[in-house]
């Protein structure tokens, strides 16, 4: 399998090890953003994609998620619970 963003080899799933790490940070970061500002997943991704402090890979994953419309795992988990 290849990474959906950079064509590197991906052993785990959609992303290579680098983008997977950024993806993990994005998902955990959202919990804090949601608590702090009560914003939606999409708004959050837009913020990260243009934020100068966000890392290059985190921005790339945010852009990719925006374009493919994927929801964060946290939300999926919450949905399952409901």
């Amino acid at each position: 399998m290849q990474c959906a963003i950079c064509n590197r080899e991906s052993a785990l799933g959609d992303y290579c090890a680098f983008h997977e790490k950024a993806h993990g940070n994005l998902v955990t970061g959202y919990e804090q953003w949601k608590k702090a500002l009560d914003i939606s997943w999409k708004e959050y991704l837009r913020e990260i994609a243009k934020n100068p402090l966000a890392g290059e890979w985190a921005k790339e994953v945010a852009q990719h998620l925006l374009s493919c419309g994927e929801q964060p795992n946290v939300e999926k988990r919450e949905e399952k619970r409901v």
């Binding site: 680098f18 950024a22 994005l26 970061g29 804090q32 500002l37 402090l53 966000a54 890392g55 985190a58």
Partner: protein, 690 residues
């Protein structure tokens, strides 16, 4: 050399040191300077004649027994450098002169720097160039090139060489050669066999883990996701004066909470609830070892560790400071504190400080725990410069002098006053600080800074008004990038490399294109090399491996381990790693070649082609004329013929900016004149000279 009888032959590491030693030992301090094969050497007259001949650093090196650039390469021998390195042809004559001078010598003294490298340099010359004189030679041990110390060191030399140190030094060279040559060849050959292209790629037992530190940090930065928080900032008025107060929590996690705090305190008065006075003692700093000198020089002057070492080395050769390659934080009394200070006071800028310091009851340095068996911490010799020092040299010398004085200073004392204000259940703090006793800080100015904040007198129960209170919205920041100085510290803390080699390892990472910029950024190539090492030979980038080798080397120095054993253990560790690399050479070659190709293309790409819109404009060279120009990558596919002329003189740098007039790509041209930006569009309005 005519009419000379038998003499004592002294070997030094560098020509400057040879002159210093010969001058110190000659009755009239004017040794006779001689030249042979371009080698300067000196004849000093004393009870007996002395000949002082310098080396040029290492004159011998390790060479592969087998020809070519194949690996694994486990058999090697020590050879003169001119045999192994094309550019070292000068060494041949140098060794001939040394060898000839040794023929008529009756006694031998090794006076190379007393450390691991100096010991190897002296040993190799005595053994190979002087026909096995290493067991006959005595050893001069000194930490400064001052006349007095050199004379004392000559009068009572050590009776033999430090063979433990030599064995450890030889083992270090051999182990580094085995790791560096084999692993670097594995990378280079993989690229060559896959693409037919030669690229200088390297790694080693210290380089690998150092690159690993940087890649780990880079990964954290690139995957970083900032999170929001709020900081409450309050401006509080006391007796008509305004002061900044801090909220009890550094970070407020939600916007709602932050706004609630602001609205609760806005236009309110806070009451002084508590006053806390605390006094803090600040002991003097430790004397400089090389690492702390390099860190301090970076903090103050932004000098890279390598630059600082090279300046300190020059100051040492000028007999202005002691030997800089030291781990010690100790200053033994034998160096003569008072004499050094008195000598320094001959310089107007230090006179007052020295006289104040000498009025103290005792002169006792504040020393650290680190010890170096060979040398004390870095200190000024007390000599004043005999030539005009360059600005950078003057800075480092002045820093060493001030630090030396500061370590004898008294403990400084500061006082902090913390005022706790309460408003509507929220606590705010005002903090003032002042120096009560300057102590050592006086001697370390201008290199120490203490900002005083004086608060007005206020009593418990008094009120203070909030002039302004805001919740500032902020985001967490990514981890800071390493700079050469912080990287050096991390290497030191991890126990990898030596004081003499760390700065060079960092520079090699730059030279190989694995990292760039002062705030270190790992390049794509750096990432790929590390990924390959991690995947195919993780041992090499593990700190434990290199730290374990350092411990073994220390064991050799202390005569607890044998050099041959350590070398053969290294070979046995490397053997399976290299076999694995060889098996996977194709995949490694493909990955590295692709990266090199892409990086190469990125480096010469000026911008997108404005004519065909999907090609890239690159700097290229005409096969016919050899002249440089800009062409489109689609030319080779027969899709675009765009090409633009370039000036043939000067260095080109990709400006990375578009022309402000026409939006076409630009390049920066650097000649002897001021650099200028050139728009590649021949019809650009900026070129109209109406």
């Amino acid at each position: 050399m005519q009419n000379m009888g038998k003499y004592t032959l002294i070997i030094t590491e560098k020509p400057d040191a040879a002159l210093r030693i010969a001058s110190a030992l000659d009755w009239k301090e004017r040794p006779q300077r001689m030249y042979e094969n371009g080698v300067p050497y000196y004849i000093a007259k004393r009870e007996r004649e002395i000949v002082v001949v310098p080396a040029l650093g290492h004159l011998y090196t390790i060479m592969d027994e087998q020809k070519g650039r194949n690996y694994p390469a486990f058999s090697f021998r020590w050879v003169p450098r001119y045999v192994a390195e094309r550019k070292a042809s000068r060494i041949r004559g140098w060794l001939q002169t040394i060898s000839r001078l040794s023929k008529d010598a009756e006694a031998f003294i090794d006076a190379c720097d007393y450390d691991i490298e100096g010991s190897v340099i002296g040993y190799c010359i005595l053994k190979y160039a002087m026909d096995n004189k290493e067991k006959l030679s005595r050893r001069m041990k000194y930490s400064t090139l001052t006349k007095q110390e050199l004379q004392e060191s000559f009068s009572s030399p050590l009776s033999h060489l430090d063979f433990g140190l030599i064995e450890a030094g030889l083992a270090r060279h051999e182990v580094d050669w085995l790791c560096g040559v084999n692993l670097s060849r594995a990378l280079t050959n993989a690229v060559k066999n896959w693409s037919g292209r030669y690229a200088t790629l390297s790694t080693g037992r210290v380089q690998g883990p150092t690159l690993e530190f940087l890649v780990n940090r880079e990964e954290d930065i690139k995957a970083f996701v900032p999170t929001p928080y709020w900081q409450i900032r309050a401006r509080i008025e006391i007796n008509g004066q305004a002061f900044d107060a801090k909220y009890e929590k550094q970070r407020v996690e939600t916007k709602k909470d932050a706004e609630a705090i602001v609205s609760a305190c806005k236009n309110k008065e806070g009451q002084v609830e508590k006053l806390e006075v605390r006094q803090t003692k600040h002991p003097p700093p430790f004397p400089f070892d090389l690492g702390t000198l390099q860190n301090e020089a970076y903090r103050l002057f932004k000098f890279t560790p390598r630059r600082t070492l090279s300046i300190a080395q020059q100051l040492y050769l000028d007999a202005l400071v002691s030997y800089p390659r030291t781990d010690s934080q100790r200053l033994p009394p034998v160096i003569g504190y008072e004499n050094i200070l008195k000598n320094l006071s001959r310089a107007a800028e230090y006179r007052e400080l020295v006289s104040k310091l000498l009025r103290q009851q005792t002169l006792e340095p504040n020393e650290g725990n680190r010890v170096d068996p060979a040398h004390p911490a870095i200190f000024p010799t007390g000599n004043l410069p005999q030539r005009t020092l360059e600005t950078s040299e003057r800075k480092i010398w002045d820093l060493i002098v001030h630090r030396f004085m500061a370590v004898f200073g008294e403990t400084a004392l500061s006082q902090t006053l913390k005022i706790r204000l309460t408003a509507d259940g929220h606590h705010f703090y005002l903090e003032g600080r002042k120096i009560l006793a300057e102590g050592w800080m006086h001697y370390y100015e201008p290199y120490v800074r203490f900002e005083e904040v004086i608060l007005p007198t206020i009593e418990k129960g008094e009120n203070a008004k909030f002039r302004r209170i805001v919740a500032e919205s902020l985001l967490t920041e990514p981890p800071a990038r390493h700079n050469p100085s912080s990287l050096l510290r991390e290497m030191e803390n991890a126990g990898i490399g030596t004081k003499a080699t760390r700065a060079d390892i960092i520079e090699t990472l730059y030279d190989r294109g694995y990292v760039r910029h002062e705030r270190i950024t790992v390049t794509r190539l750096g990432f790929e090399v590390r990924q390959i090492l991690e995947r195919h030979c993780p041992t090499i980038i593990s700190t434990e491996f290199t730290r374990g080798l350092e411990a073994k080397m220390k064991g050799i120095q202390e005569n607890k381990k044998k050099r041959d054993r350590v070398v053969s253990e290294t070979i046995e560790t490397l053997r399976p790693i290299l076999e694995k690399l060889k098996k996977e050479e194709k995949a490694i070659g493909e990955q590295l070649s692709r990266t090199l190709e892409e990086v190469g293309l990125e480096e010469k790409t000026v911008g997108s082609c404005p004519q065909c819109k999907n090609g890239k404009l690159i700097v290229t060279y005409s096969r016919k004329t050899g002249k440089r120009f800009i062409g489109c990558t689609n030319y080779f596919k027969g899709l675009c013929k765009a090409s633009f002329p370039l000036p043939q003189k000067g260095i080109l740098r990709l400006a990375g900016k578009k022309c402000s007039k026409c939006g076409w790509p630009t390049v920066e041209v650097r000649t002897r004149r001021k650099p200028w930006i050139l728009c590649i569009n021949p019809l650009c309005p900026s070129k109209n000279r109406a």
